[in-house]
């Protein structure tokens, strides 16, 4: 085990880490927004779109993400060409982000939807009966009850997403995994273990940090909003 070698190549990995982080952050946020849209369509049972969403979720969750990555990277330009839009060279980073958004939109929607459905009908009716507008009901009554149920599942989805980014080197993105393979092959396979161990530690730290972030949000949601302040108005 060559620790000094690991420390030597660490800066190289840190220089490509922003690419991995960018992909993670964009795919998480956009994937989540997509999942909310999907859940809204499925719960409102929007005609035509609802069965399409069912198919989308089923397909996305039942095929390997690596395969989806290839389908988007090689297939999307073909589909777009048929529609008259010509892309000369698909950027692998863009293709990765699109794939991960689509994948996460489906995955997260299956976390958000049961969480939404877990809030009893009576909670909606109580707000309705008091004259809450649909937006106020959602914002003040429903979402605060959906969030604590959905957060642990969303946290898991984010960690899986982080791990899934390790596949995107397959279409040529130079993220930490891509860089590892480049270094290993230019090094004639020497120090392979050190390199893999090093990036394992990087993935571990990134996952741990996002887990802590979710845990922080969970604690925040459980905070009791008026407990201190009732005294102040009293």
């Amino acid at each position: 085990m060559d620790i000094t070698f690991m420390l030597e190549i660490l800066p190289q990995f840190l220089s490509v880490l922003p690419i991995t982080l960018l992909i993670i952050v964009v795919s998480t946020i956009c994937g989540f927004l997509l999942s909310v849209l999907v859940v809204a369509i499925r719960i409102k049972k929007v005609r035509l779109l609802n069965p399409i969403m069912g198919m989308y979720i089923s397909f996305t969750r039942s095929t390997p993400i690596l395969l989806q990555l290839f389908l988007i990277y090689y297939g999307l330009p073909v589909v777009l060409a048929l529609m008259g839009i010509h892309i000369n060279d698909m950027n692998p980073t863009t293709a990765s982000i699109i794939t991960l958004i689509i994948y996460n939109g489906a995955y997260m929607s299956e976390v958000v939807r049961p969480a939404y459905l877990a809030v009893e009908r009576g909670q909606h009716e109580a707000a309705d009966s008091l004259g809450f507008s649909p937006f106020k009901k959602l914002y003040r009554i429903i979402i605060p009850q959906v969030a604590p149920i959905a957060l642990p599942g969303l946290g898991n989805a984010i960690i899986y997403l982080i791990h899934d980014t390790s596949l995107i080197f397959a279409i040529g993105v130079v993220d930490i995994m891509g860089l590892a393979n480049i270094i290993i092959s230019s090094n004639y396979g020497m120090n392979q273990i050190e390199i893999y161990l090093l990036i394992a530690i990087i993935y571990w730290i990134v996952s741990m940090l996002s887990e802590q972030m979710i845990k922080y949000l969970e604690r925040r949601k459980q905070r009791l909003p008026y407990n201190g302040s009732t005294k102040e108005v009293a």
């Binding site: 009893e120 009576g122 909670q123 009716e125 109580a126 707000a127 309705d128 009966s129 008091l130 004259g131 809450f132 507008s133 106020k136 003040r140 009554i141 605060p144 009850q145 009791l224 909003p225 008026y226 407990n227 009732t230 108005v233 009293a234």
Partner: protein, 256 residues
């Protein structure tokens, strides 16, 4: 003076109809509720009493009919979203299952609609909430969560929550049906106090002697229709309608 007040019409339903899956549940209900009235809906299970109550604040969407509530008049065939909120803001509902906001404390439950719907300041909402919670005897529980309360206490909070928005009509949907027998009394006592305070009430209940005591008007429903209505004495003691008597006989045997 009192006569004048009591004949002022508060709620008027005309030919209200609703169907679920092609089965007509309410078959043309006409009902008049005067200001300060305590109207009790009684009748066999599955008759549409609760549905009627839920139609009044549009938790169920009637297929046909008209409603007049205070100064708002609506035809169910041409109802708009804005109208729904108007009607709902004049009424408040007390549910069988309490339906307190689970993520909020007792005081927050009572303050919430005052702040969010009525746009009251936090201080004003707090003071009004304390006033209502005092009436239902839960001043020592203001920081508890619903899950920490007994069913009877939860239902008393939900009554306070309904009163706090100062509705023109308050609707009670079998408020004691989900309670353990020993907790029924405390809730009935609170409802009785509300009734005496002069607020207009429409109540669905299976507590017959309670209905007899507090109602100004009793409505007997069967199979989606109003069969008979009148004062408690007229319905409970003098009814000549066979269905009414048959129904009431299941509940209590008349003395003398």
């Amino acid at each position: 003076m009192f006569m004048e007040v009591s004949t002022h019409k508060m709620l008027l339903l005309k030919n209200l109809q609703i169907s679920f899956n092609d089965e007509q549940v309410l078959k043309g209900i006409n009902l008049t509720v005067n200001k300060g009235d305590v109207v009790t809906l009684i009748g066999p299970s599955g008759t549409g009493k609760t549905t009627l109550l839920r139609c009044i604040n549009y938790l169920e969407k009637p297929d046909d009919g008209e409603i007049t509530l205070g100064d708002v008049h609506l035809d169910y065939k041409s109802i708009r979203k804005k109208d729904i909120l108007k009607i709902r803001r004049k009424t408040a509902m007390v549910f069988q299952q309490y339906n307190l906001f689970k993520h909020k404390t007792v005081i927050e439950n009572v303050m919430e609609a005052q702040m969010v719907v009525q746009k009251k300041s936090k201080k004003a909402a707090y003071e009004k909430s304390m006033e209502e919670l005092e009436k239902v005897g839960l001043i020592d529980k203001i920081n508890a969560y619903p899950s920490q309360l007994s069913g009877g206490q939860q239902q008393r909070v939900s009554i306070a929550r309904a009163l706090a928005v100062e509705p023109e009509v308050i609707l009670f949907d079998e408020p004691t049906s989900a309670l353990d027998p020993e907790l029924v009394g405390e809730v009935l006592k609170v409802i009785e106090a509300v009734a005496k305070s002069g607020i207009t009430i429409v109540l669905v209940t299976h507590e017959m002697s309670f209905a007899q005591n507090i109602s100004t008007k009793v409505v007997f429903m069967d199979k989606g229709k109003i069969v008979e209505e009148g004062t408690p004495t007229e319905i409970f003691n003098q009814s000549s309608n066979e269905r009414t008597r048959e129904f009431l006989n299941q509940f209590y045997t008349r003395k003398n």
